[in-house]
Symmetry: C2
Subunit: 298 residues, 2 copies
Amino acid sequence: MMNTEWIAVDWGTSHLRAWAMRGETVLHHARSGAGMSRVNRDGFQSALLSLVESWLGPAPVDVIACGMVGARQGWVEAPYSAVPCPALPVCPVRVPGTDPRIRAFVVPGLKQNEPADVMRGEETQIAGFLSPRPHWDGVICLPGTHTKWVQVSAGEVISFRTFMTGEMFDLLCGQSVLKHSVGDGWDEAAFGDAVADTLSRPENLAARLFGIRAADLLRGQDTGRARARLSGLLLGAELAATRPYWLGQQIAIIGSPDLSAAYAAALKQQGAFCEIADATQATLAGLSQARNLTRQTT
Amino acid sequence: MMNTEWIAVDWGTSHLRAWAMRGETVLHHARSGAGMSRVNRDGFQSALLSLVESWLGPAPVDVIACGMVGARQGWVEAPYSAVPCPALPVCPVRVPGTDPRIRAFVVPGLKQNEPADVMRGEETQIAGFLSPRPHWDGVICLPGTHTKWVQVSAGEVISFRTFMTGEMFDLLCGQSVLKHSVGDGWDEAAFGDAVADTLSRPENLAARLFGIRAADLLRGQDTGRARARLSGLLLGAELAATRPYWLGQQIAIIGSPDLSAAYAAALKQQGAFCEIADATQATLAGLSQARNLTRQTT
């Protein structure tokens, strides 16, 4: 049996994912719902250990974590680096007083002073994506609950913007009046029409949203069509806002497969070309880079 | 003691309000949280009776209700009238099989086929507002959970649009990541700046929203200022979308005092002038008109 050399951890608001690593090779993978929002200040170590205990041996193992776990309310605060700054990880912050079987580190996030913006976790994916592409210039889109658009040039993160598109989709789907009309399924044509609609007239978003409910009440509507339309309306408005970011640029999308495909389809419809990168691979590559920094300094 | 001649009822998704009336005079007022969303199909009559029982006598009393109570899932379905149509109530639909102490009626809502849109309750306020102003032309804004903008000309409702601004404000305040930054209080200047921001650049809404959180994380921010900014951003985007409605028009706002004042301030900032009308008075005047129709036909 191969021994765990280090443990890679992606610890966000709603999830905790861990990988047992040997060099760049994944030995095991585990995940739980013990995200930041469900863990008490004192509960981080036990939440992690309960997930990875079977991977540990007598010798201390490095744990390299990224994500919201580095927030002020997290396991240890890892202060933000300010953009513009190199698109490489800075040295992770050591978590004091851990169980002797682990040496835990958290990767700092990025902040932008004007307009105010922050990220935690995506900086690691960006570094991982760029590590085999040192001369890559362009725009990286990281879709999710809080989608990030990141401008990269000459190895630096120049600027970024966060959009609450994913969170708004979840709230509108699950908790607004639209929950009565939106359900499973998907309709590619409805998605494309909706993207085009709010991309050209982003101010119409709030009215078009209620239109989904009204169309259902008056004419009945397929729930998957409604879901695609809701997604398209929100995404179209985001693409209208990010046009200066993506127009005429090289674009990479790092996210879950479904979400990345939706973003790519919407951008392709606007004549933009984008590459879809594997999110897990980017995370692991970035955490591996961060780990190398801890080995140089400790 | 004066006897109740009829009972006016405003029955929305989240509230039930009733007034004991003698002609146009309010004798008593009562309200409860027994809105549409909390009442079973069979529970409407008992929810109402528990609120108004003390107003009833031996002779049957007319109950005239408007709002979501006329929806398909309501007390009785009151089918929509299609716009364009006169801005007067059409004859309310009688609720069958009620307690002998009441004769209950529900006012139909309005629908628009293209773009699809619906209203239930606001049509009664519009009729009530217009009853002493038969030659009034212009735009009526009814702010609320689902704000309506209604174009009125020559005594007809020509068209209308619904905006989910209020519901989005509630969801973002209470359930999104912004709940950590938004709280009590208000800042008039922050509200005005935010309105101007999304009115001129409505596509920026989703990014500006996250900016409220980021500014708080990086610099700390007054919770009331954040609340005013959130409200202003959403309202500015709505005013951008409704510009063809209100620009150069006579505008009347019918809503709760706080919300009406916020809409009026934002419109005034754009050089528009608006009148604020009392919402309860409009509802009661509209229901009184609807009652007269039931007396002509029964």
